[in-house]
């Protein structure tokens, strides 16, 4: 059951906070601090999302660059979410959170990039299954 004693009230005003912060938690601040934080995060997210949908539907930038631009916008928006909604910071109270996140990102990149890389090469070395491709292989 619950362990009420272990959850001490955070002292108001005086944060001698050399404790860690858990991600998503909101340490006590003056009134409105986290609401302003949320407003800022929402504004940035709307800008980035609207930008992504706009770029995808228009041709104002060089066509082949659109996917790259979309990925850049997506990564920027994930960053906005991490900072403004999950409160991941670079502060020393967040070291554990950031390290865990870094390891997570490493695994995600290994899986995604690794899969695409390997399967792409595998595809190139496959025996062609369509007749037309087979014909092209004849000398």
């Amino acid at each position: 059951m619950s362990n009420l004693a272990s959850d001490e009230e955070l002292p108001t005003g005086v944060l001698d906070n050399r404790e860690d912060h858990s991600p998503g938690d909101e340490p006590l601040e003056d009134a409105g601090h986290w609401v302003r934080h949320a407003n800022l995060g929402l504004t940035l997210s709307i800008l980035l999302t609207a930008g992504a949908f706009f770029l995808a539907g228009s041709n104002i930038i060089y066509g082949p660059a659109v996917p790259i631009a979309l990925i850049v916008l997506a990564i920027a928006q994930m960053g906005v979410h991490l900072v403004f909604f999950l409160h991941i910071t670079t502060g020393p109270d967040n070291t554990n959170n950031v390290l865990a996140l870094a390891f997570g990102i490493l695994v995600v990149f290994l899986i995604v990039i690794g899969s695409i890389w390997i399967m792409d090469h595998l595809m190139q070395n496959m025996m062609p299954t369509r007749m037309e491709d087979m014909m092209q292989m004849q000398p």
């Binding site: 619950s2 362990n3 009420l4 272990s6 959850d7 005003g13 005086v14 944060l15 001698d16 906070n17 050399r18 404790e19 860690d20 912060h21 858990s22 991600p23 998503g24 938690d25 909101e26 340490p27 006590l28 986290w34 609401v35 934080h37 949320a38 995060g41 929402l42 997210s45 709307i46 999302t49 992504a52 949908f53 995808a56 539907g57 659109v66 996917p67 979309l70 990925i71 916008l73 997506a74 928006q77 994930m78 979410h81 991490l82 909604f85 999950l86 502060g91 020393p92 109270d93 959170n97 865990a100 996140l101 390891f103 997570g104 695994v107 995600v108 899986i111 995604v112 899969s115 695409i116």
Partner: protein, 230 residues
């Protein structure tokens, strides 16, 4: 330490305001023992921190699961087996709507936690309810999309691309549905038990979960929908 001559408490508050993380003020080497910081003989960090951190680890592993589905989709996106291609099954206006709804629900979720910190039961419930309604709209839009695709004969067994598409988008939808159930139980728990510490811990975890779902959705609407439509 300083020569301002202010009372110690005022000085401490000023220091906290200007430098909440005490960057540059942290003792190097052996320092006095801080209760709850996990140093020395003072035992582990408080439960609030351990619960949040543990849930963070779970979320990262959940994102790794999603990355497997992303990888499958990236590999299979050309495997249409003569069936419909991505740009034939995507309706950008609906995806824009879903994205807007989920983003605003993330926002209201954060406001609900700000209300929790202010110990306002009413506003916590109001914002949680708003989060739930927006999440429900998201799920209904997704079900509508799947139903329309199914009516056109576009089902997961049609091609490898469609399998991975329905798998990835459906897994996210499943997470949102589970989140909605969780949200309902959290509202009931607040109603019955109030802001007991363990309830607040669960609210921290729910917040994390909901924001993480939005982060995954950013990846989905960018890679699956926008890049597929282009």
């Amino acid at each position: 330490m300083t020569e301002t001559g202010l009372p110690a408490s005022v000085e401490a508050i000023r220091r906290v305001r200007e430098d909440p993380h005490r960057l540059g003020h942290r003792a190097h080497g052996p320092a006095e023992i801080i209760a709850g910081a996990g140093h020395g003989m003072t035992g582990p960090a408080s439960k609030r921190i351990i619960v949040g951190y543990g849930f963070w680890i779970y979320l990262l592993s959940d994102i790794v699961v999603f990355s497997c589905f992303f990888a499958a989709f990236a590999v299979q996106r050309g495997a249409t087996a003569g069936g419909p291609t991505m740009d034939q099954i995507i309706e950008v206006p609906r995806v824009a709507m879903q994205t807007a709804v989920l983003l605003v629900s993330s926002y209201t979720c954060m406001l609900s936690f700000a209300a929790t910190n202010a110990r306002s039961r009413l506003w916590t419930q109001v914002f949680l309810a708003a989060t739930g309604i927006l999440g429900l709209v998201f799920i209904l839009l997704e079900l509508q999309e799947f139903a329309e695709l199914a009516a056109r004969g576009i089902t997961p067994q049609r091609s490898g691309m469609l399998t991975s598409f329905f798998g990835l988008v459906g897994l996210h939808g499943l997470h949102v549905s589970a989140g909605l159930l969780w949200l309902g139980t959290m509202m009931a728990q607040i109603l019955v038990k109030g802001f007991r510490p363990e309830i607040v811990h669960r609210l921290i975890c729910f917040n994390l979960f909901w924001h993480a779902l939005d982060i995954v959705w950013i990846g989905i609407f960018t890679i699956v929908y926008l890049m597929g439509a282009g």
